[in-house]
């Protein structure tokens, strides 16, 4: 297969790589601005999925036949691709999960249950997604630990002074989002990690929203766990990654039991496999794991810097354009932001905004974005969120602005 190269960002070519973009919705060309919920998939990823089922499908790690061999080596090649994408030290530190949510639950259920007890503290932030809140609450209920929350300012930035005050020797886990899905805020994770390590806490970074926009180097960050979902990174749905430092993963007991995760099973006693297999019980989502590699290659071919530069241009353009709309207030004005804009329109329910934009072919997300505590802190019921990806254009932002003007005239 030939991979295209993009000396500069060729938007027409990029859009052609994503077949789904070329369609009418409610009679108008689709504008897809719901990329923070999930990105669309390039042809290379779709082809990899079809190719796997057409040529290589077999169960992995067990078969001795040619197909099993091909499937296994493609699966493990994907692990290596993720390793290098995150700059992890070893491929064994990459565990395939079915998403960010699953990865956080894995850590809570294994590391959390083993090493946390009564009175131990878990520190998260006000801007966490429910998937980085609820697993810890469940752990607190089970083990009697205490959940503490780092507050934010009105711009949607963490209050670092407060963070430092909350860190004590009782803090065992700090679990913070790298980039906020609701506001776009980029958190200073390196700083958070260093401070947490100084009190002996381990740190999990929820990278669900970060991986498309930011270069990730888990060794430089020195985070203990880093988790993300492939579907927000041009990859398949229901597929994600837990990176963990080897030393930690080895001390953690397995979570799900079954095939693949064992060395030897007798009715008296079972010995467990080594990492990463210890945490990958059962037949995994082989095709989708394999296709993740194509998604990462796609990103690498475009170049993260090039993607980031384009997204930044869209963010700046959209921020300026939206601010010309009377009664529109941008929610989340952090200095460091990715291409996510949440906003409210004075006197107009976000649901109505979403419905009327959809009728004009524009897909946005409305509501609380799985961040109810954050919405409560900001004193709003929800927002309308436009999130941009590499294939979006300034013309589409113009359509959004016109679409919002239409919302306003209809509601007036």
């Amino acid at each position: 297969m030939q991979t295209a190269t993009y000396p500069t960002l060729d938007l027409a070519q990029i859009r052609a790589d994503f077949p789904i973009l070329d369609q009418l919705v409610n009679g108008r060309p689709l504008v897809y601005f719901d990329n923070a919920a999930t990105t669309q998939k390039p042809r290379a990823v779709l082809d990899a999925l079809a190719h796997y089922y057409e040529h290589d499908n077999a169960n992995i790690h067990r078969g001795i036949h040619a197909l099993a061999e091909r499937a296994t080596s493609a699966f493990e090649a994907s692990r290596k691709a993720v390793q290098s994408f995150l700059n992890a030290r070893e491929a064994e530190e990459i565990i395939f999960t079915y998403g960010t949510t699953d990865a956080i639950n894995l850590v809570a259920k294994t590391y959390g249950r083993t090493f946390l007890g009564k009175g131990d503290e878990i520190l998260i932030s006000t801007m966490e997604h429910h998937s980085n809140i609820v697993p810890w609450q469940m752990l607190c209920e089970e083990r009697g630990c205490v959940l503490k929350v780092i507050p934010i300012n009105d711009e949607g930035e963490l209050l670092l002074d407060e963070y430092e005050k909350l860190l004590t020797e009782r803090t065992k886990i700090v679990s913070v989002v790298h980039v906020s899905n609701a506001l776009g805020t980029i958190n200073p994770v390196k700083y958070l990690i260093d401070k947490a390590h100084a009190v002996g806490a381990v740190v999990l970074i929820d990278g669900a929203q970060a991986t498309t926009h930011i270069e990730i180097d888990v060794q430089a960050l020195d985070c203990d766990f880093y988790v993300f979902s492939a579907h927000k990174l041009f990859g398949p749905t229901g597929m994600g990654v837990l990176y963990g430092k080897r030393a930690l993963l080895e001390t953690m007991p397995p979570w799900r039991g079954g095939g693949e995760m064992i060395k030897e099973v007798t009715f008296e006693k079972t010995t467990y496999n080594d990492i990463p297999y210890k945490f990958e019980a059962g037949t995994p989502n082989i095709a989708d794991v394999i296709a993740v590699r194509n998604a990462l290659e796609y990103v690498n071919t475009l170049g993260k810097d090039t993607i980031a530069a384009h997204e930044h241009e869209l963010l700046t353009y959209a921020t300026d354009a939206l601010q010309t709309i009377d009664g529109l207030r941008i929610i989340g004005q952090a200095k460091e932001k990715v291409s996510v804009i949440s906003f409210v329109l004075d006197g107009i329910h976000h649901e109505d905004t979403g419905v009327i934009l959809d009728q004009q072919g524009i897909a946005v997300r409305t509501g609380h974005h799985c961040c109810q505590p954050l919405m409560r802190r900001l004193g709003i019921a929800g927002t309308t969120r436009a999130s941009f990806s590499v294939y979006n254009t300034t013309d589409e932002i113009d359509r959004l602005v016109k679409g919002l003007q239409r919302v306003k005239t209809m509601m007036a």
């Binding site: 006197g347 649901e351 109505d352 419905v355 239409r406 209809m410």
Partner: protein, 139 residues
């Protein structure tokens, strides 16, 4: 007018519009005309569960008919419009007619996506509540 006559009347009104946006505009305009509930009916017992926007429904038996009044958050204008359509069709009808009503107008005017999916819980639970009140009071 019977429930079905009212539904047919609404279908005719919406037939004037080809464009979904024009239909939505019409719903919004209906919402604007929906009179607000008096304060004493704005109580939690009247809140419809599952709506993203707050909707209140007050149900009463008046002579041999069921009488509904409803209200939604002032900013949620599409909800207000949908609420007003439901009131128009189902209020002041015999309980057994409400309980057995087949609300085909929702589909025919192209609103099923608004009523069933997004506002999901919402409008569906409002209809359910209207019907179960009617059911309790049916002969």
């Amino acid at each position: 007018m019977t429930i079905n006559e009212k539904q047919d009347e609404i279908i005719e009104e919406f037939d004037l519009f080809d464009d979904q946006l024009d239909k939505t505009q019409y719903i919004i305009d209906l919402g604007k005309k929906l009179p607000p509930l008096p304060d004493y009916l704005h109580v939690d017992a009247n809140l419809i569960p599952g709506c993203q926007s707050k909707v209140w429904l007050n149900s009463e038996l008046k002579a041999d008919t069921v009488h509904f009044e409803a209200d939604a958050e002032p900013t949620a204008q599409i909800s207000r419009g949908l609420v007003s359509l439901l009131i128009r069709v189902l209020s002041d009808q015999k309980p057994e007619d409400v309980a057995n009503a087949d609300l085909y107008f929702i589909d025919r005017i192209g609103l099923s996506n608004l009523v069933t999916s997004r506002r999901a819980g919402g409008m569906a639970s409002m209809i359910q509540r209207m019907k179960s009140f009617a059911n309790e009071n049916a002969l």
